[in-house]
Each structure stands twice: as structure tokens, then as C-alpha cells.
Symmetry: C2
């Protein structure tokens, strides 16, 4: 039995792969073109790819692209994965509550997506996170994703630029998207116990299912592209700026807070750890070094 | 209206204070007597005390004793706190499930305890965690606690010694305690997503309410004392051993896993963050520096 979603699943997962390739190429180019600063004498960083598996492969898997110890990137992971299985009662409950779904007796799910976290050598370069995904159950299918900027020391001009690129991508689809998804990011990326945001936000969307799958997919693609359009110029601008030991210390402590957010609150991290995905892929987001006072 | 528990609460919280004082004195003595090794030229570490508050003080508070950058201790926090308030529906549910309690309309709680985490300079010295506490609700009161050893590079002789001291303390009270509480620690301190224990265990107990409060309190005190009797000799033995850069690297990665456990799974951490306790006290357990590959 074929299903309209069979083709859609393939198109979505193929596109996440294309985005991954574009990002990896762009990031390696940043490495090649970094010729000044304290890490410029290092070999230009290159991504290494490893296959990842869910439930030993029975539940699908993916590919983890990681670059470590580069000239610009201290550690960056770009994961793609396409997984399937049955939803745990806990996952059903959380999704049902959000989407007013009744999972009945059919608890299958399929999910495909790309997720990226970059931790930079320079405290003057913001760390960044991006994720887009398609989630399918027999009862509903939806997209989610977004990207958010995590400066160590905020530069208001960079924050404004990052948001402006996201806004333009959103406005092409629906003028209501940017205000809604910006607010959602502000809420989502709050480190509740410190009452402090993880970074300066961006956009976050989930459960996107307007009834027009093609339109939702097109928006998800634009959100993915907007990430590169926003992040590359900021990195090119900041990567050659000098920094001090104090800046590095600030960076390492910010990273501690980043790890706190991901381990205590992040929905994708919890879903990944609970659903048996490769923990080294799920936790690729964690910083290479972090400090707590 | 006085209640038999009024006196008991005071006795328990006074005792946690006494234990804190004994531990701080013993740890400062370790600092004073460390005269060789790469950090011996530093001033002997001293604890700094800060008051902590729950809900801005309305829900009680405590005192955080922290020593940083010493000769032996890279960072050690010893927190005592006595807090009270009303249990959130989520906390009630979790406790009710464990203890078969009906919270009815009276959701008050009171809790007092001591909690300690030590991260050592030397990768040859195990990190350690200890906690003992009394929890009271109008429906039941109980003790919990334990301590567990977290070597960076396991030395079987130290593991055996640590467990033996715990066993002796337990056996004085009930021969069933050690096997039960050792197994509980093995289960509790499992980093489920890695299917890997956080350390080499020790004892862990919770919900201890045999019906004889005096006996339970006496056991809790012995468990607290056993921590020092087990930890001090191991530290004295290992603190002057040489280590390599590779050992340090192993230590920093072990600490990453330690942070994962505390932020993803630890019951006390979640209770503390959700119940509005001072996050800097709750998260004192986090390592001064950690790495993720």
C-alpha cells in the first residue's frame, strides 16, 4: 500500500541531506579562509562522518558530521537522521497534549531531520543551534525547527541582523510566523532555573501543520536556508577579532549554562535519549569544554 | 500546637549542621597537610560560606560552603538547607507513587539535609558525593541519603575499602541494609543513555521509615559518618600520586558524564530546581571544568 506520505518522507529526508551538505561545505570554506588569529596556523578543519543507529539500526539511523579543533570551529556537529518505531506512552502523552491527538492503537512514528550545534574557538563568535525536522504518525504529520543565536558577549547589531534574516524568511510565507516563532523561541530557550535566556533567540516552531503540506515544507526549507544566511556573515565579521582570557572565561561559563539547558530542558535531547537513539549523536550538542563556578 | 516532629526536625537539622562542620574541618585539614604535588605551592584551600534562600527566603534556606582552587580540592561544595512549603502536584505524584501516600488536602512539606560533592585536582583522587536528609509531610516522614565514589580511573582496592566502610555502618543497624542500599545505588547512579554507571557506587537509600524514628535517625547519622571514614583515607593515600595529561583528560570527560547524570537524572537536582531553591546551591554539584568529545 503506498501512501502520499511515502513520497513526502523521501522528499523531506533528501532535503535535510542537501541542507547538511550545503552547511558542511560552507563551514569548511570558513575554515579554509581563516588566515589570521590564534588558530590560523592549525590545519583547516574538516568534517568527519560517522553512521549512527537507533536501537542498533532496527529503528533507522543517520549520519553525524563532526568537525573538531578547527581554526574557527572548536566543535561543530551536524546530524541528520531518519528514524521510525513506536511511540512510548510518555511520548504519546506529551504529543497528544500538544496536538489534541488520539493515538488509538497505532503508535507508529517516523521522524527525519537535521540538527546542528556549533561551538566556536573565539568568544567573539556566537555559538549557534539549528534544527529542522518532519514528524509523522498515522494520525498527523508536522514540521518543526528553527535556529537561535548564542553569543558569549552580545553584540546588538549581530542580534538584529540574525533576527532580520529569520524574519524575512518567515514573512515570505506568513506575516504572522515571525512574531509567533520569535516569541516561541524566547519562551523555549529560557533557562528556567536561572530565569535567563540561553542566547538571544531566533525562531522556534513545532507542530506546524497548516493543512497544506507543500507550503509547510517550503517554509521549513526556507527556515533552514535562513540559518546559513544569518550565521555566515556574523561569523565572517567576528572571527578575526582579538579576544582576552576573560572573554574565554565568559565563554566557558556560558557553555556551562548551554549544557544545563540542553540536559535539563531540551525536548529533542530528551526524546533522543529516551527513544534509544545513539547518545553520542544526541549529545553532540554539548560543548567541547565548559566551566561552572 | 506542638508536635513530636517539632523536636525531631530540630534535632535532625542540628545534626546536619554538625556533620557539615566536621566535614569542612576535615577537608581543610587535608588542604593544610598537602605539601607535595603540583598544587602544593597554592595557599591551603578554605571554605567560603554563603546563605542560600528558597523563594527569596519565604520557604527557608540554608548555607553553602564552597572551597575552590585548593591544593587537593579543585571544587567542593557542602550545602545544608532546611526548607518548607507546599508540594507541587508533580512532586506529590512522584512521592505518592513511591510511598503509597494520599496527600489529601494538606500538601505541606519540610525537608532538611546536607549534600556534598567534591571534585578533586588529581585524577588519581576519586570525586565523591554524599547526601543525607530528612523529609517530612503531615502524612509521613522519612530519611534518605547515601554516598558514592566516583573514581576517574578505578582502583579496585579503593572501591573495596569504600564499600566495606559503608557495609560496616549499615550492618550495625540491619544486615539487610547494605545489600539493599548498595543495589539501590547501583541502580540509581546509572547513566541510562550510556548504560554506564556514574561511578563505583556506594549506598543509596530513600523513603526510610521503619516506624522507629530514633533508629532511622541513628542510622542516617552513621551513614553520614561512614562517608568521612571511607573518603578521607582514600584521599590521603592518592593525593600525592603523580598523574599525566592523559589522566587529566580522562578526568575531564568523566566529569562531563557526571554533569549529564546530575542534570538529566538526579532526583535531588530536579526537586531543587523545580521547587525554587537557589540554583547556585542546587548546581554546586557541577564540575569546575568538564569536557565532551
Amino acid at each position: 500500500m503506498t501512501d502520499i506520505f511515502d513520497t513526502r518522507k523521501t522528499r523531506a529526508s533528501d532535503w535535510f541531506k542537501t541542507l547538511r551538505d550545503d552547511i558542511c561545505t560552507a563551514f569548511e570554506t570558513l575554515e579554509d579562509t581563516q588566515t589570521t588569529g590564534p588558530h590560523a596556523q592549525l590545519p583547516a578543519g574538516r568534517f568527519e562522518r560517522t553512521k549512527t543507529m537507533r536501537d542498533g539500526g532496527a529503528g533507522g539511523g543517520g549520519e553525524m558530521s563532526v568537525m573538531r579543533g578547527g581554526r574557527v570551529f572548536e566543535k561543530v556537529g551536524v546530524n541528520i537522521s531518519t528514524v521510525h518505531g513506536t511511540l512510548s506512552p510518555m511520548a504519546q502523552k506529551s504529543m497528544a497534549a500538544r496536538k489534541d491527538l488520539d493515538f488509538g492503537d497505532d503508535h507508529r512514528f517516523w521522524a527525519s531531520g537535521i540538527s546542528l550545534v556549533a561551538h566556536m574557538n573565539s568568544p567573539k563568535c556566537p555559538a549557534v543551534h539549528m534544527n529542522t525536522r518532519m514528524f509523522w504518525t498515522p494520525h498527523a504529520a508536522w514540521f518543526g525547527g528553527g535556529s537561535d543565536l548564542n553569543p558569549m558577549i552580545e553584540v546588538p547589531e549581530d542580534t538584529a541582523f540574525f533576527h532580520d534574516v529569520q524574519k524575512q524568511a518567515c514573512d515570505k510565507h506568513d506575516p504572522a510566523y515571525y512574531p509567533r516563532f520569535k516569541e516561541w523561541a524566547d519562551e523555549y530557550f529560557m533557562i528556567k532555573h536561572w530565569n535567563e535566556p540561553r542566547g538571544v533567540g531566533g525562531i522556534f516552531f513545532d507542530d506546524l501543520d497548516t493543512g497544506d503540506w507543500e507550503a509547510d515544507f517550503a517554509f521549513t526549507q526556507d527556515a533552514g536556508r535562513a540559518f546559513l544566511n544569518a550565521f555566515l556573515p556574523i561569523t565572517e565579521k567576528r572571527r578575526t577579532e582579538a579576544w582576552t582570557d576573560d572573554d574565554r572565561e565568559i565563554q566557558l561559563r556560558k557553555r556551562g549554562r548551554y549544557a544545563e539547558f540542553n540536559l535539563v530542558y531540551d525536548r529533542g535531547t530528551h526524546f533522543g535519549l529516551q527513544s534509544g537513539h545513539d547518545p553520542s549523536a544526541v549529545l553532540m550538542s554539548l560543548p567541547p569544554v565548559a566551566k561552572w563556578y
